[in-house]
């Protein structure tokens, strides 16, 4: 393998890791506030559809992005209504949201476009095009560093850079602001937050909405940057991989970056090689597909450090009278 091949694999890892990273950070905000969210998949799917559909109709990718985020936030609010307001089971609500998105996206796509549950292929104005960072062309011929800058760092869509910028931003919000402190507190001990005179309900809704916005970005990236349009079930389990990455990262932002890059790398390899030849044994492609899930089970089993979730996760908060 030469430098170019390595760079191409890493480049596609970054692209594939981006939706995982955004969804993972989305889950991080929600779960740190004590709201479990297995509906990441559904929210991404809804955002993917609406961003592609509206971008196809209006011809503007930015209006598409806004529509995608709006759809994702709407599902977030439904999750909030069920799990915060009516104190329902958060897991069941998440399952319902995943099915709702899986069904509605195809239903609406078929009604609007009659193309077998997909949106029309997006033209260039309906997509996020790759950005060429300043100096990339000029530095291209510099040995080693030039190709790395040109291939790997430059030439992604804006959402990729947004996703990577979200990592330090999330860290800063969670650990350096008053809102972040309260958010983490509400996921560990909501009674204490309530006693301090801060509304648990409002904080949790804020977290759920942030989660919706980030899932919206993830879905829009899938349909308008990674691919040119929506196809049925295009998230293909990415929401669950993001959930796996979240556990892998033990609910911390920087580790979320590393975990999603690792899973993106696995996907890139699985996409490029049908099977991986390690010299001693040859791993089949299906094993590569299953690897993120297997790794998550191993992590959950606590064999590589124990993953301790936020303490109040999954429990509805009942205010004392």
């Amino acid at each position: 393998m030469d430098l170019m091949t390595v760079l191409q694999v890493l480049d596609s890892s970054v692209r594939l890791a981006t939706p995982l990273l955004l969804a993972c950070l989305a889950g991080l905000f929600s779960e740190r506030a004590g709201i479990l969210d297995i509906g990441l998949e559904g929210k991404m799917l809804a955002a993917a559809f609406f961003s592609a559909a509206i971008a196809a109709v209006t011809g503007s990718v930015w209006i598409g992005l806004a529509a995608g985020i709006a759809a994702s936030v709407a599902l977030s609010l439904l999750h909030g209504l069920a799990s915060i307001t009516f104190r329902g089971n958060q897991l069941i609500s998440g399952v319902a949201i995943n099915f709702l998105a899986a069904g509605l996206t195809v239903l609406i796509a078929q009604t609007w476009f009659q193309q077998g549950g997909r949106t029309p292929a997006l033209l260039s104005s309906g997509r996020f095009s790759p950005l060429t960072l300043p100096g990339a062309e000029a530095l291209r011929d510099v040995p080693v560093l030039g190709p790395i800058y040109y291939e790997l760092i430059s030439g992604h869509s804006i959402l990729v850079y947004v996703a990577f910028a979200c990592v330090p931003l999330t860290w800063w919000v969670l650990y350096r602001t008053r809102f972040g402190l309260r958010l983490r507190a509400v996921g560990e001990n909501p009674e204490a937050v309530d006693t301090a005179g801060i509304s648990v309900v409002r904080l949790r809704f804020a977290a759920v909405i942030i989660c919706g916005v980030l899932c919206g970005l993830a879905g829009a990236h899938l349909a308008t940057a990674l691919q040119a349009g929506f196809v049925q079930d295009m998230t293909a389990g990415r929401g669950y991989i993001a959930l796996a990455a979240l556990i892998f990262a033990k609910w911390r932002p920087w580790y979320a970056l590393y975990a999603t890059l690792l899973f993106g790398f696995l996907q890139a390899i699985a996409l490029r090689n049908q099977r991986l030849d390690l010299g001693v044994i040859t791993l089949p492609a299906q094993f590569m597909d299953a690897l993120p899930y297997i790794l998550t089970v191993v992590i959950l089993a606590g064999f590589i450090g124990k993953a301790v979730p936020p303490r109040a996760g999954g429990q509805p908060y009942v205010k004392e009278r």
Binding site: A82, N98, Y240, Q286, V297
Partner: protein, 364 residues
């Protein structure tokens, strides 16, 4: 004090939730420009209007009874088994191995063998998530989701490799020998003088599913193990205090759950396809969640809810055939049922409780 009478809890709330789901589904149909009443009429005619329609309705219902019972048993131990899909896939593998590699003189013996194979493989696939939950505290919802994906990859691997007959193109196993083919409802009802549709896939495993409902009822309410499972589900500390081992209950309940989900394969793999195909489960494992919630985790409720979902599936297929409404409408309805009977349960329950309390106060 009970806040409301039992009948309201068992019958009224599910009915109101179902009604809400139906109203929203109707609105969805209106939104895509079709007439909901015409659609309902078409569904009823297509699913229940002929023995052909009934044959499909009962075929789907058989799948959902097994997966619904699987989720229900786990619910009684307050465990949420989302892994029914993967367990049913592995059950299919168990059925395929039993049918392909063991010689069977008669279908009845093959059915027993295949049921055991399916249950064994399904239970085995539930074992690891269960033991990890009990011993290491790994969240069973996450691990069972992960095991669904691992199962899909594993079956994919086998079906393009070891299980595929030499020279075949499709990723499917070889056809099962004729001795293992199960009699359809047509074959069973003909001696009784009823001419049931020959083309419909409903088969003898429907009766096995009904039997499974009865056995699960006996297990949960008439045995010591069932009592322990319910006690554990109500309160883990209390169960522990009473000398019930959490590990034992978690693992047993999950393995029974996995076995039931796996047994779905005697219907779809052995009864219908008569070979193992890719993605044989078609999401039935997830519908089990809706069925168990709708049926309030009671085997009789699961039975009724499974028939309802069988009706929805067959009716939905008819709709897709005759109107512009896509099949995915069923997934939306399924989502709404899960939402209203599961997650938004309190939205219906809280106002009702208030009404019943007010009535009681006036009487007192």
């Amino acid at each position: 004090m009970e806040r409301m009478p039992r009948w309201a809890d068992v019958i009224l709330i599910p009915l109101i939730s179902l009604l809400l789901a139906a109203i929203i589904s109707g609105l969805v149909i209106v939104a895509i420009g079709e007439d909901p009443f015409k659609a309902l009429n078409l569904m009823v005619k297509g699913a229940l209007g002929s023995s052909y329609g009934w044959g499909y309705t009962l075929y789907y219902a058989t799948n959902f009874m097994f997966t619904g019972l699987a989720v229900a048993v786990a619910f009684h131990a307050r465990l949420f088994n989302i892994g029914g899909e993967g367990q049913a896939m592995l059950g299919g593998l168990g059925v395929a191995l039993v049918c392909l590699y063991l010689p069977w003189p008669h279908w009845s013996l093959a059915l027993i063998g295949a049921s055991l194979g399916a249950a064994l493989f399904g239970a085995a696939w539930a074992f690891l998530p269960a033991i990890l939950q009990a011993k290491r505290g790994s969240h069973i919802v996450i691990t069972t989701i992960m095991f669904n994906f691992i199962a899909a990859a594993f079956l994919n691997y086998l079906l393009v490799g070891a299980l595929k007959p030499r020279g075949a193109m499709d990723p499917t196993s070889a056809r099962f020998p004729a001795e293992t083919n199960l009699p359809s409802l047509h074959d069973i009802l003909l001696p009784l003088g009823i001419n049931f549709s020959r083309a419909a896939p409903a088969n003898v495993s429907f009766l096995v599913a009904v039997l499974a409902c009865v056995l699960v009822w006996m297990l949960i309410w008439r045995t010591r193990l069932g009592y322990e499972i319910r006690a554990f589900g109500h309160s883990e500390p209390a169960a522990l205090y009473a000398g019930i081992s959490p590990t034992k209950i978690t693992v047993t309940a999950m393995m029974i759950s996995g076995a039931l989900a796996g047994m779905m394969a005697i219907n779809n793999v052995m009864g219908e396809a008569e070979r193992l195909v890719l993605n044989a489960t078609e999401g039935a494992g997830f519908i089990g969640i809706a069925v168990a919630l709708m049926g309030r985790s009671h085997p009789f409720g699961v039975f009724l809810a499974a028939i309802l979902f069988g009706f929805l599936y067959q009716g939905g297929a008819e709709l897709a055939l005759w109107t512009s409404i896509p099949r995915e409408l069923i997934i939306v309805i399924q989502a709404l049922v899960i939402l209203f009977t599961g997650a938004l349960d309190n939205m219906v329950r809280m106002p009702l409780e208030r009404i019943f309390m007010a009535i009681r106060r006036r009487r007192a």
